[in-house]
Symmetry: C2
Subunit: 368 residues, 2 copies
């Protein structure tokens, strides 16, 4: 009955309910919050960034979007904010209220259990803090909400924290993960044959007609889905290349949709057996353009583990590179049709060897 | 735009989309179908039941609801059916079409990719076959669809296969699963203390206000959710008691909603450390009331493993019973508010010992 008569409102409400079922609900668990609060790189970066701008935050109005337990809001209060609004959609807001009561007895922080996009304040704010980044930066698409709230509620000279983000695309030789993946795929694929023989023998039904579909399903699952990995610098074949820069203060909804087809070029710094591409990101907390030593939160394999890890996009077959060999190509990233919160990545590439050019390859991966 | 103007239709369409997202989609994978096709107790029962009524099925019209790969339809065809409709909502229908083409070259089977409730046939059918059972029989609530289709499309003297089902409630002493559960819970709960100390030391935020909420969340997760187990007869303390009988031919939507508050009484057949309740079911394939030796598919711990296993409802603390001790109580099972496909079970019980009566206990578990 809520959604009567207005078809547009209907579709929006429907999408929102589905979104809650599939996305927001996980953020309502303390266990999940604890995992994020134990990511010390994440914590150190945000804590360092907020405490590092106490001169700037003093007496200001701060908005914390997707506040979770309210930890960023409490830091903003400690750093001297005049007023902080912590906006959290899930029931985690109830815990944020308890936590703010214990850590902010004078009530600088107000917890609002609302969709950020529906928040109404008396005045615009000076600073928006938010930890909106998903896997490979854009997964979860929370940046969309941030942009809409920014345009409505941030003062024209206001500050976004973090202020910038960059996505990187690289090559990896993580043979351990790759071999595990391949052997799991092979095992699953090979289990088909005795299975269909047994069904034919015992129950008189021929499943052979589905053999290639089954093999294809296995390949989709193992090779055409990217995976969370947590790699070290030894797994990286050459420096990653930036494929997208985001200025959080000015990024548009259109720019937040993904990565337009973007060329990349890698030169191997060592002989290596390349197992696939690798995606990661960093975010920067810069107050203004004179800020030459800002806090950076990096999820690169060289920066040590975070709960974001990196995304591994496996090749069907490994590719042996000699030092100096070059891989050239193009990658793009776009949203899935099924849900706006998951993505697909398409890449085409070729190897420019010392002696020869190999044929162009291409692949599509789901980020789920 | 599809849903304009009719609010009832709107809510129904919305619920259906959410249902598809959260429920049906898993049935579109061959890997998942393979797991079900490898459940030999399931396969032997359906195969034996269908092949055992060839006299009855000869020349008849058969409807297979939720056909998956179409295996039951193919057996019905082999058993001599004149016409079979295999109804499957997910894209598994495409594979069912391939499989039927390979196993049914004369086209006795028609695969319809539709919601079963929307199927329209020229005439009513003689037999409906379906494998609609979820964990603890009712989970997934597919019985609702079956009832609606039965009332619309089965001839008055038609046959449901299976024809009957019974839910059982028992006591278990599965200490291995229980100890694992408790030690995981204890580990997770104890990890909170050093975590909040670290956050207080490093980042100046007191999380103590959430300690009891976190412990409660862990208890909810570990003790107040039932779990899939696959037990043997050694884990059973006394015979299970039936808590609900279902005649698939006559069961109503109201009766399919769960189990009304139902008394139970167990007498321990041996000294045992009881770790919780246990739920399972059996289904029977009976052609008529003179059928004295029907095929039975049982998921009891005494019947050997199936992919349904049993549902384990853990106690907060184990309860030591001496042979002859009696536990009396009441159990009920009802649908979750969040989704019609998951359930909750509530039980109250007391121990009538040789010497004394202990206080009444009660608990609520989620079946997810």
């Amino acid at each position: 009955m809520r959604y009567a008569l207005n078809p547009n409102q209907t579709e929006a409400a429907e999408a929102k309910q589905r979104d809650f079922d599939c996305y927001f609900s996980s953020y309502a668990y303390l266990y999940h919050q604890k995992e994020m609060l134990q990511d010390m790189q994440r914590m150190d970066a945000y804590h360092g960034a907020i405490m590092g701008i106490q001169d700037h935050i003093q007496g200001k109005k701060v908005l914390d979007i997707g506040a979770g337990t309210g930890i960023l809001s409490i830091w903003a209060k400690i750093a001297g904010a005049q007023k902080v609004w912590a906006v959290e959609f899930t029931d985690m807001a109830k815990y944020a209220k308890k936590l703010c009561k214990a850590n902010d007895p004078d009530g600088v922080i107000s917890v609002l259990q609302q969709s950020a996009e529906e928040v109404i304040l008396d005045s615009r704010v000076d600073i928006i803090v938010s930890e909106w980044m998903g896997m490979f930066l854009l997964r979860e698409s929370m940046l969309d909400s941030l942009i809409r709230v920014r345009d409505r509620l941030l003062k024209p000279d206001g500050l976004m924290m973090p202020s910038h983000a960059t996505m990187y695309w690289g090559l990896t030789s993580n043979e351990y993960e790759y071999d595990k993946l391949k052997s799991e795929m092979d095992e699953a694929t090979q289990a088909w044959r005795p299975f269909i023989d047994q069904i034919a023998d015992k129950y008189g039904v021929k499943l052979h007609a589905l053999s290639s579909d089954y093999a294809q399903e296995q390949k989709e699952y193992y090779i055409h889905h990217s995976r969370w990995v947590s790699l070290g610098s030894e797994d990286v074949v050459c420096p990653g290349v930036p494929v997208k820069h985001i200025n959080v203060k000015t990024v548009t909804l259109k720019q937040a949709k993904g990565v337009e087809p973007t060329p990349f070029r890698f030169e191997a710094t060592k002989d290596a057996n390349v197992t696939g591409f690798l995606g990661w990101f960093d975010t920067t907390f810069r107050v203004d353009s004179t800020d030459t030593d800002p806090v950076v939160l990096s999820t690169s394999p060289k920066a040590g583990p975070t709960h974001w890890g990196q995304q591994f996009f496996p090749f069907e077959k490994t590719l042996f590179l000699k030092k100096g060999d070059i891989i050239e190509g193009t990658m793009e990233m776009f949203r899935s049709n099924f849900t706006q919160r998951t993505y697909k990545v398409r890449a085409t590439w070729k190897l420019l060897g010392v002696d020869a050019t190999t044929p162009t390859k291409s692949a599509l991966w789901h980020i789920e």
